[in-house]
Amino acid sequence: MGALFEEYAQTHAVHIRDQLVEGYLPLAKAVARRFEGRGIETEDLQQVASMALVKAVERFDLSRGFRFVTYAVPTIAGDVRNYIRDKNSGMRVPRDMRQKLYHMQQVREQFELEHLREPSARELAVAMQITPDELLMLLDMRQQTDVISLDAPLSEDHAAEIGAMLGVEDKGFERVEGSQWMNWIFSKVDEKERKLLTLRYGERLGQREVARQLGVSQMQVSRMERRVLQRLRAIEENGA
């Protein structure tokens, strides 16, 4: 496929583009399938994904050194997500359910602020004064109303990052590089967070490698990193 992309970059010939699109059609279908069960016909999802694939093929820049899949998955997923969002904008979530979802988000954020960690599901249920069953239903409902997507870039080691749930590289962390910053930061974080920051910004390892070393998932590393950053930012802004 690499040779075809090179040829397409030089000629922009439609028949080469079509060959590339045809070759990657299973990828578009696979991405579309991840959005099934959200009230949109599968054929429609695949159609949108296929159109996004054409766009991705046309815009892909081989010279940047990334695999096409790395570029295409977030592009396709983003278009499908937007399509679902547009189609579902007229759908009504019952008001009491919306209120409960909103309340859940508030309680969760409050808990994180007070305990510097995410609540367990049980803790969240207790804090919301609902039963664990109700909480599970709510969490599931939230998943149905949200559009979980694959719109974040795939990392270079081919690990898929699922956009809505995954963090992105935060430019603010560049400040962590200065040693006085590091000392200040290390005084504000716990042992596990310190290890995370050391691996990520001292040893400059990717999230996947950090996850492997910490024995957790890449997703957890991403969330932990985001949480630490938010906290440090808040501390800094408050002048503490």
Binding site: A30, S120, A121, H158, A211, M219
Partner: protein, 127 residues
């Protein structure tokens, strides 16, 4: 619930609408294990991905068996596609994409393939 090894077993039709049951059961087990809300979200997404992957293979699954258990340190889960000889040929999902999605969500993932496609997917996460 097995006292020695706290374990649940679920045998479902390989149909999208039944994935809800797998998701709820596994998230319930995660709740019992004390997982945080973020991890429960990951378990939910991983369940969807496992079922989706197993339901879209060269030979279609008729049922999906889910086994999950807790030990002292980890929560384990295994999904297995059950196929019959007369199962129809399905459209295979992108194996690499499924693997990448799952490996992003979970720290310890295994996918086993045979001539019919991916037949078993397992993952575990620390408690």
């Amino acid at each position: 619930m097995n006292e020695e090894r706290r374990e649940i077993l679920l045998n479902l039709p390989a149909d999208q609408e039944f994935v809800l049951l797998a998701r709820m059961a596994l998230c319930g087990l995660g709740m019992i294990a004390g997982l945080d809300v973020g991890l429960i979200d990951d378990v939910r997404a991983a369940t969807d991905e496992c079922c989706d992957c197993l339901m879209h293979q060269r030979k279609k699954a008729t049922r999906i068996e889910m086994k999950a258990w807790l030990d002292q340190e980890r929560m384990h889960c295994c999904f297995r596609a059950i196929r019959t000889d007369e199962a129809q040929a399905g459209e295979p999902t992108d194996f690499e994409l499924s693997r990448c999605v799952l490996e992003t969500l979970m720290p310890d993932v295994t996918l086993q393939q045979d001539a019919c496609g991916v037949g078993t997917i397992g993952f575990s996460l620390p408690l």
